[in-house]
Symmetry: C2
Subunit: 361 residues, 2 copies
């Protein structure tokens, strides 16, 4: 592979002049420039980033660690691909930034992360972005390497900058919209509260009730999914029956996610109830394969994964440029409520404006 010396010799100039043509950081005579450019193209010269980096100490690389690529990709598995969306968002911002994004996949084994970090540090990446596949707490260690780190869809104990989905705000917005449309008896069939997302969503649910002055009724909030392998759905059935058996049964049932709503549709109908006339249903995730396909289409709320990715990329770039001193800690990104016909309005208000940019479809 041709070097800058080969080009210099071929053009009859000094290497430094070739360098000046490459970077246009100093004036070069017209004839000289032409000769150099001709030599470069003759020799198929491509400058070496490695050599360039040794002087400048700027690699132009951003490291991205994720497991998004190794997902099973079973299209019918009712799980979105949150991390893939996040990666897309990051990719989009980086593409326009002049930095080169290096993506490394864990292959599903988080034990490989330290090795990948090491490789990235050897390449002197200017920032590291770690994308988790679901909202959770992690420990992310770069060794002693003091490289800017941004966590996405996860957070650690050290206050590393983190971009997180605002599960709480989303659930709050959804329940608030339900209340505005006249619902007061609002059940919530929750995910396992051991999951970060589950706990936050519950908080949002209660906060929305409180903000509206509706007393919290513990009987309306029931765990309906355990984070275990052999969850056969019995938990959901019992949860549904327990809220339907209340003296004042709910007029709407919120689900921990859209998948749960999908199964709930069948259970509710097998109890002889109509959706939404006898019982409204709301989900969480806006997993469109479910939400738009169900009849009636499902009211749900969306976590803004692409936007999270974009935001993470912006923060990483900002840290590189030293703009933001210490973005310190986590940043929540809320997402829109998708209002569909699985929820019926109980009051006379036929139209209302949400404060959260809800969409109607």
């Amino acid at each position: 592979m041709a070097t800058i010396y080969d080009v210099a010799k071929a053009a009859g100039v000094s290497p430094k002049t070739v360098s000046r043509v490459l970077n246009s950081d100093a004036p070069v005579g017209r004839e000289t420039r032409k000769a150099v450019e001709a030599a470069m193209s003759d020799l198929g010269y491509v400058p070496s980033n490695a050599a360039r980096m040794m002087r400048s100490n700027r690699s132009g690389l951003i490291g991205l660690i994720t497991g998004a690529l190794s997902h099973k990709l079973e299209p019918m598995e009712p799980t979105g691909l949150p991390d893939l969306y996040i990666v897309q968002g990051i990719q989009r911002v980086m593409a326009g930034s002049g930095k080169t994004l290096m993506i490394a996949d864990t292959g599903g084994m988080s034990a490989k992360v330290p090795e990948l970090v090491r490789t990235f540090l050897q390449h002197r990446v200017e920032a590291l972005i770690y994308v988790a596949d679901y909202h959770r707490k992690v420990t992310f260690d770069t060794g002693a390497g003091h490289c800017p780190v941004v966590l996405v869809n996860c957070f650690d104990a050290d206050g590393t900058p983190a971009i997180l989905p605002d599960d709480e705000q989303c659930q709050f917005d959804l329940v608030t919209d339900l209340i505005r449309s006249g619902h007061e008896r609002i059940a919530y069939l929750t995910l396992d509260p051991a999951m970060v997302a589950g706990e936050l969503r519950s908080k949002g649910y209660r906060a929305a009730l409180e903000a509206a002055g509706i007393p919290y009724d513990g009987a309306l909030e029931v765990m309906a999914r355990e984070n275990v392998e052999d969850d056969d759905g019995g938990l959901l059935q019992r949860a549904l029956d327990s809220v339907l058996a209340l003296d004042r049964p709910p007029t709407v049932i919120c689900c921990g996610n859209d998948e749960m709503a999908l199964r709930l549709y069948g259970l509710i109908r097998s109890r002889g109830l109509r959706i939404p006339e006898d019982c409204s249903v709301a989900g969480f995730d806006n997993y469109r394969a479910i939400a738009e396909t169900l009849y009636p289409p499902l009211t749900t709320v969306e976590l803004p994964y692409q936007a999270m990715g974009r935001r993470a990329a912006e923060i990483a770039l900002g840290m590189i440029n030293g703009e933001s001193e210490q973005p310190a800690g986590s940043e929540m990104v809320p997402g829109p409520v998708h209002w569909r016909s699985s929820v019926t309005a109980l009051n006379s208000v036929t139209k209302f404006r949400s404060n959260t940019g809800s969409t109607f479809s």
Copy 2:
């Protein structure tokens, strides 16, 4: 960031000795080694790949260019994610090879490819892999840079090594299995033959008939999908009616892909026919969201995208090591037939063994 000189000074040895500890390419005294290792860990030393590369001229990098990450990811869009599967296959092989895979996404704009190639060449990647999103012809130019290139899911005019799905063989296998189960009047509603995949599948269909000694009837092979925006499905309806109206109508209808089969199910039933009793149906792609969900489940054939990715990675590694001189030209990878109940057996053979590793589910 600490350098090898800092470590040397801290350990009271020469930089070269530190280098020897790093690479264990020469004996080092036990005490010396311990001192060096202590210094490295104290300083959080990480060797610079850039500097290392300058001497060795081996970057340890493989460049991967794809559009897989920027797909729309609409889960209900009846299209698989072939290139994402391919990337997974490549990733898997590379992870075990000691090379670092750099993934660059085109963001859907193929015009950005030359720029990405240039960036990769600047990083002195040892090989370049280009993954296309559907089987097609491309031109892929690395400039004068003589870097090994492997194309996946596409091919060019210059005989660049290419890994391709064996559309023809797959369709051949599927039709052959149909014939074995007693079908002789086999219709084929094709994709637009302007598509590479469409043409190859048609060839496979005809070859299977010929191999079985069944005369080809042009009236049974009808184009049912044009590669245009406003394809409203009318073409498919007319194609179906034309084959059903024949004197000897088909006993089984093959579709250009699973999506077409999905729509065909509805059309066939609206004609008052039962599947598979009155008319069997076969698809192409094994797009599981469709094939496994339909009732009855769809017999179809799968293109082996993951395997293609793995094979491409192996070939790239082989070219780097100079093993395979010139793998020259393209390599076809066949995939398995998935035999499901959308096809009924017309003969008395209840069980048969395919020569192509069919699966039964």
